[in-house]
């Protein structure tokens, strides 16, 4: 009973959050969290539930972002149309890719998604006539306040969670899980595995493309290295999934929260703590070391993956019972 109420309590808290916390900085972080809930849920659908691990979510994210940006610069439309067309263009990329690459299984498919990521980034860099290449795209944001962005992000996060939930409760959900567990068994059970893998990928790509369009609208600036980034988008999506809990409904939501916090912790060097300590010590070595740590958030991600896989293979949500047991035991021992 309590567990069932948690999502609703969380939603209520998120609804009042920006009214209570007026700080632009924290509102900004929460917008990022909500955007990652969308991307993480999408990754979870194709990788967590359908078992087709993707290393190339940025391909769909960037496509969505560029669609939104180009609608403004080329057609003079509002970038908000990107929320619709960004999803569609991401699907248009996903369909031929999936049609060809779903012949590959397991790690080979994952490698193909990695290649797609890189191909899309190079296209965005080289095709300057369309994409402006490394200059990127700059648009004027619609709102000065963070509030509208916050609530739009929240709505998209809720929509993606509901989408995944509805899909997983239907025949499609059973088919996705069957494909994840055993492709040959699934085939012999009458499941057209190629077809259903495509459906899963298309839904995931659409959601990720929408998240990309949201990013364009909110940040106002994109370039190929930002939105087609392997480590900041594709790997981050995997981390959100793994840390939160692969193949769990709310894993990506929890994972998004943790990962944005971790990313921010690294980016700011423990909220400036490390550099302050380094300066206080006065030692050159420690100062340069602190700079290194601040820049090494990708390495921090790597360490986090190892830790998560070693101690929480099912993620925070999947291993929740294990975590509570550990905490309780410590309390008993300590008391």
């Amino acid at each position: 009973m309590v567990k069932k109420a948690v999502p609703f309590i969380a939603l209520a808290a998120l609804l009042v959050f920006p009214l209570v916390v007026k700080s632009d900085y924290y509102q900004h972080l929460m917008i990022l969290v909500l955007m990652w809930v969308v991307i993480g849920s999408a990754w979870n659908l194709i990788a967590g539930y359908t078992g087709q691990v993707s290393f190339g979510d940025a391909a769909f994210f960037g496509t969505g972002a560029y669609t939104a940006g180009l609608l403004v610069t080329k057609l003079g439309w509002s970038a908000w149309w990107g929320l619709f067309f960004g999803g569609i263009t991401a699907v248009l990329i996903a369909m031929p890719f999936g049609w060809i690459c779903f012949r590959l299984r397991g790690a080979y498919f994952a490698l193909a998604t990695l290649a797609l990521n890189e191909i899309m980034r190079h296209i965005a860099t080289i095709w300057e006539k369309l994409t402006y290449g490394m200059l990127g795209i700059l648009i004027v944001q619609t709102f000065a306040s963070k509030l509208p962005y916050y609530y739009i992000s929240l709505a998209l996060a809720v929509i993606s969670l509901i989408t995944v939930r509805l899909v997983m409760r239907s025949k499609y959900g059973y088919y996705f899980l069957s494909i994840r567990e055993d492709q040959d068994a699934a085939e012999s059970m009458g499941i057209n595995t190629h077809h259903y893998k495509m459906i899963s990928l298309v839904i995931a790509a659409a959601l990720t493309g929408v998240a990309g369009a949201l990013y364009m609208n909110y940040m106002g600036f994109i370039d190929p290295h930002v939105v087609f980034s392997l480590h900041d988008i594709s790997i981050m999506a995997i981390l959100v999934g793994i840390v939160g809990g692969v193949g769990t409904q709310y894993g990506p939501a929890v994972g998004a929260f943790i990962m944005v916090a971790v990313q921010e912790l690294f980016r700011t060097g423990g909220y400036g703590l490390i550099s302050k300590l380094a300066k206080a010590s006065g030692s050159e070595t420690i100062i340069s070391l602190s700079e290194f740590i601040t820049k090494a958030h990708v390495m921090g991600f790597g360490i986090l993956v190892v830790v998560a896989i070693l101690f929480l293979p099912n993620g925070v949500v999947g291993d929740w019972n294990k975590i509570t047991r550990l905490v309780l035991q410590k309390k008993i021992k300590g008391g």
Binding site: K171, L177, D184, A185, S188, M189, G190, I191
Partner: protein, 240 residues
């Protein structure tokens, strides 16, 4: 009338003919046993019939239609189901969900799929284990789960690949009973089995493979007294 017909089916792997020029028919309502020493090509033949491999030469007909090269999922829709010798449960799903997933082939709603699944689980005496994760089931029950999953697709032809291997005597009797009940439902069965007592008692006819070729076909009685078969297959058993 023949439900399944193989017409000089060949499956080559490089220079090796794993199945060589095999022809036989399975008639509606029959139980046909497929036997042969290890490596005779029985499972390869199943994979050819079931669509995991397409035949290198020759043809397979199901219900009068040529099916050579068709995919397993299409054949499943047409009414052909199979079990695997090395069981392939959907490990992280419960027994019930395993069977629901396969029942969706014949169901439009989740409720209808569950209805079919429950029926299949009761039929195979697995209903009490419906909520157990299939990776936690013992081998005997996993073998029956394979059968339940195949039955949930409501097949006309059921291909059973060593569904009796590794069972203890009481499980063996339980499974034989289930096979008899499946036949009573009017489902045709082609079964691979090493257990001679079982195959001799339940089969209407038996096809014997050796080195990929059919060396004999007939009633259990005829097969038991065929010198070729005794030499290739039963002879070994008598020596042991």
């Amino acid at each position: 009338m023949s439900l399944l017909k193989l017409d000089r089916a060949v499956k080559n792997f490089g220079g090796l003919a794993a199945v060589n020029n095999v022809s036989f028919e399975v008639h509606k309502g029959e139980i046909v046993g497929l036997i042969g020493p290890n490596g005779a090509g029985k499972t390869t033949l199943f994979n050819v019939i079931n669509g995991f491999y397409s035949p290198s030469k020759g043809d397979v007909f199901f219900d009068g239609k040529k099916i050579s090269g068709m995919k397993p999922h299409i054949l499943c829709r047409m009414g052909m189901a199979r079990t695997f010798q090395i069981v392939k449960p959907l490990k992280r799903l419960s027994a019930l969900h395993n069977v629901i997933a396969s029942a969706f082939v014949r169901a439009n709603t989740r409720a209808r799929a569950e209805e079919i699944a429950v029926e299949a689980l009761k039929f195979t005496n697995l209903y009490d284990d419906r909520d157990v994760l299939s990776k936690a089931l013992p081998i005997g029950k996993r073998k029956r789960l394979e059968i339940a999953r195949a039955l949930a697709t409501q097949p006309a032809l059921l291909l059973l690949d060593e569904s009796f291997a590794g069972l203890n005597p009481s499980e063996l009797n339980e499974s034989i009973e289930i096979i008899r009940k499946i036949k009573e439902k009017g489902i045709t069965i082609l079964i691979i089995e090493h257990h001679m007592k079982v195959i001799m008692s339940i089969s209407d006819r038996i096809v014997v493979l050796n080195y990929g070729e059919k060396i004999a076909e007939g009633t259990p009685h005829e097969i038991g007294s065929n010198p070729l078969v005794v030499e290739a297959y039963l002879g070994e058993a008598q020596d042991a």
